[in-house]
């Protein structure tokens, strides 16, 4: 016998189910009068925030090619200078006018999610190398048993993307483009997330 290590086990995940919007975006789900505002809704910046305003939209698509209409997507990212608005940020003080976190329920008819944010600066990898600008994504929905983590990169950052230590971890190089958004206009990016099958998005165990 040995001493017990004494660690607890993480609580097991369960699907967010079909009504995650009741819990996380109740006003969007039509339940008014409890919370004034849904957390994570609206632009991630206020008018004083530094950086280039961008919009990111997309859909979460199942293995049959159908957009999910009951997903919940969250993003978390650095400010224009590559700093996170978080107590765990030790490299400096992030822009107080940029909150860095957003939540979008996706349109009930089309499944389109939308984030109004700013283009993030570069954040160092664990060894100090700079990662390419990216936005981290977390996706939950009915039928997803454990929330999925992925990242969105920017198509114009060709050199930075080529040297990005996370993208370099992806052995099957033909999968890297699943993490790179499409630029559809000035400051307008499209990032579709494919859960399964051809063009399946790279998801991270992170």
């Amino acid at each position: 016998m040995v001493q017990p290590l004494g660690y607890l086990k993480e609580s097991p995940s369960q699907t967010a189910g079909p009504y995650v919007h009741i819990g996380c975006t109740p006003n969007f789900a039509g339940i008014h009068g409890i919370f004034e505002q849904d957390l994570g809704a609206g632009p991630l910046y206020d008018e004083k925030a530094r950086g280039e305003r961008i919009a990111v939209n997309g859909m979460v698509i199942d293995g049959g090619g159908n957009p999910l209409k009951d997903a919940l997507v969250e993003i978390w990212q650095a400010d224009a200078d590559g700093l996170h608005n978080s107590p765990s940020e030790t490299r400096g003080t992030a822009d107080p006018h940029f909150r860095g976190w957003g939540r979008s329920p996706g349109d009930m008819e089309t499944g389109e999610f939308l984030f109004e944010t700013i283009k993030p600066g570069r954040v160092p990898f664990r060894d100090g190398r700079l990662m390419a600008p990216h936005i981290t994504f977390w996706i939950v929905a009915r039928g997803i048993n454990l929330g999925l983590h992925t990242r969105m990169y920017f198509p114009e950052e060709v050199e930075a993307n080529a040297a990005d230590p996370v993208l370099l971890r992806i052995e099957h190089r033909n999968r890297v483009p699943t993490l790179i958004a499409r630029k559809e206009g000035e400051g307008l990016y499209r990032f579709d997330i494919r859960l399964q099958g051809e063009g399946e998005t790279v998801f991270f165990d992170i």
Partner: protein, 246 residues
């Protein structure tokens, strides 16, 4: 031991044996929504080990009282009154302070307040079915609500969800993000439920079943159920790993 901020080290590797796999065909919706390729494993970077702060100032007094937060003046929802309380900890046993805990549930008849919901049980005009709170300095939280009813759902021809409350928890880092469900001690529907059975390990399932807590039960008012939630733990900063090569 407290989980003092700021903590800047990465989280423990996720023990995926504690969680359901993505593909669980007896829960039919997972079939087309499960990634088939291997996940890319990576120790967290600043992008995942940081996370936002949810201030107590953003909450209202009744956000965590579902008995009162939607009821018409002078009214209350139908159903057994319960107190759900517990502690959000990490795998080291440290309380997670300032965690955002959001919960949602069906009413006493098993009906959700949602426009796509078609179950014939009635809506309760005094019950919204959603609440939220932020854990205190030691990780504790509570909700007052009514006991949700079980409900049938289209999967097998006769599948019923056990009574449950959905929980979304946001700790200190984006990598700690978790959604799960709380079940009630003694519910015979638990072992029959295809969604419960997505979790392969019976011991892991038992950690989602809240026991009746007579010590926290309020006499002549409401029974209590205790539901502790464990998020991923962080490595100690004292033992930083060596810098990566390549």
């Amino acid at each position: 031991m407290k989980n003092e901020r700021p903590e800047t080290s990465p989280f423990f590797a996720r023990d995926r044996d504690q969680h359901p796999p993505a593909y669980t065909p007896w829960y039919k919706t997972s079939v087309l929504r499960s990634p088939q390729r291997a996940l890319i494993s990576l120790e967290g970077t600043a992008s995942e080990i940081t996370g936002p702060v949810f201030g107590h100032s953003r909450l209202n007094e009744f956000d965590n009282d579902l008995i009162l937060n939607y009821a018409r003046p002078g009214q209350m929802p139908i159903g057994p009154r319960i107190l759900v309380h517990g502690r959000v900890m990490d795998e080291r046993g440290c309380g997670v302070d300032g965690a955002l805990v959001e919960m949602w549930q069906a009413n006493a008849g098993g009906r959700y307040r949602h426009k796509k919901e078609t179950y014939l049980a009635p809506l309760d005009p005094d019950f919204g079915g959603v609440g939220r709170t932020i854990t205190d300095a030691d990780g504790y939280y509570w909700f007052k609500t009514i006991m949700p009813g079980p409900y049938p759902w289209p999967n097998g021809v006769n599948d019923w969800r056990p009574a449950h409350i959905h929980f979304s928890i946001f700790g200190h880092g984006f990598a700690q993000r978790l959604i799960t469900q709380m079940y009630f001690e003694g519910d015979p529907l638990i072992p029959l439920c295809p969604i419960v059975r997505t979790i392969p390990d019976p011991a892991a399932i038992s950690r989602l079943i809240a026991p009746l807590d007579m010590n926290a039960t309020i006499p002549m008012d409401m029974r209590a159920y205790k539901f502790d939630i464990v998020l991923r733990g962080r490595r100690s900063t004292l033992f930083e790993n060596r810098k990566e090569g390549n």
